[in-house]
């Protein structure tokens, strides 16, 4: 298998919009599959809501409440409105990572374009929150820490802007690297079957890849939590 296909995906339908490549690849289908899976799970939970919830409604409500309880201290009172956004982010990252463990379902987070898109979306969202709450002048005042004398403003603002620009890199590279590492290890282990071409070697790469894939479920959960938690801290910083 070509490593380039492993990362870029296989083009299923070539589409072009004013020179921008918007082709449908197997990774795009994987994203749609993850979105559809989340939609079905959540929709079934809220389809027929009752005072005494059924099993599915209970599951969805418990998951949301657990998530909200974990994040309410970080976000504060004004930030609770952003819990649905963060919950969606968490579910999308976890479900896409989890589904990628199924053979033939491509791993979308091994493509840095996907992780960078999510990170840039969070970054732009945070900047828009500051702009909406404080206005353009307040945006630059927000960058300046308390107690800084006015003659240092010209120096502090570029430093803070550079510091803020590190956040989308941090979010995207962490998610990308963790997913890529896990899938590369499984790929290398299974490639040993082709390298050695011996039936005696079969149990070791197969068992190894099963163990690593099992560990990848844990990694998927942790990375989804860390991504959404750090997004919550950035949103809380933006709210002031």
């Amino acid at each position: 298998m070509d490593i380039e296909i492993f990362h870029k995906g296989i083009v299923l339908l070539r589409l072009d919009l004013w020179g921008i490549d918007i082709s449908i690849t197997n990774q795009v289908l994987s994203m749609w599959l993850a979105t559809f899976a989340i939609f079905i799970v959540l929709y079934l939970g809220v389809l027929k809501t009752k005072i005494i919830p059924g099993a599915w409604q209970n599951l969805v409500e418990a998951a949301y409440e657990l998530f909200e309880d974990n994040f309410k201290d970080t976000l504060g009172e004004h930030g609770r409105a952003f819990v649905p956004f963060l919950f969606t982010l968490f579910l999308f990252i976890f479900s896409a990572s989890f589904l990628s463990l199924i053979p033939a379902v491509p791993a979308i987070y091994t493509n840095i374009n996907v992780t960078a898109s999510l990170a840039i979306m969070v970054f732009v969202f945070c900047q828009l929150i500051v702009l909406k709450n404080r206005g353009p002048l307040g945006y630059f005042k927000h960058l300046i820490p308390e107690g800084v004398p006015p003659y240092l403003f010209g120096l502090i603002i570029p430093i803070e802007i550079l510091g803020q620009l590190a956040r989308p890199f941090s979010l995207s590279i962490r998610l990308f690297a963790n997913n890529l590492a896990g899938h590369t290890v499984v790929f290398v282990l299974l490639s040993l079957l082709l390298v050695f071409k011996s039936i005696w070697i079969v149990p070791f790469p197969v068992l190894g890849s099963i163990l690593v894939s099992s560990f990848e479920v844990f990694v998927a959960l942790i990375q989804a939590y860390i991504f959404s938690y750090l997004s919550a801290t950035y949103i809380a910083d933006s709210l002031g």
Binding site: L165, R167, S170, Y225, Y229
Partner: protein
Amino acid sequence: MHNFMRDAGRASSIAIELVVPVVLGAAIGIWLDGAVRSCPLFLIIGTVLGAVAGFWNAYKIIIRLDKG
């Protein structure tokens, strides 16, 4: 457990948030030097500002981790 994961998430940012501003500062410096033809003035300024920004980011994360 979730406190451990939160701290792990914050701590895992330190390395990237320390290095990325330096690289970005240097990249912006190189671009400005190319535009104004003043090599290596803006490269040095950009790298220094980036390094300060990187250490400031790392400091903020460590203080948050310390507060818990």
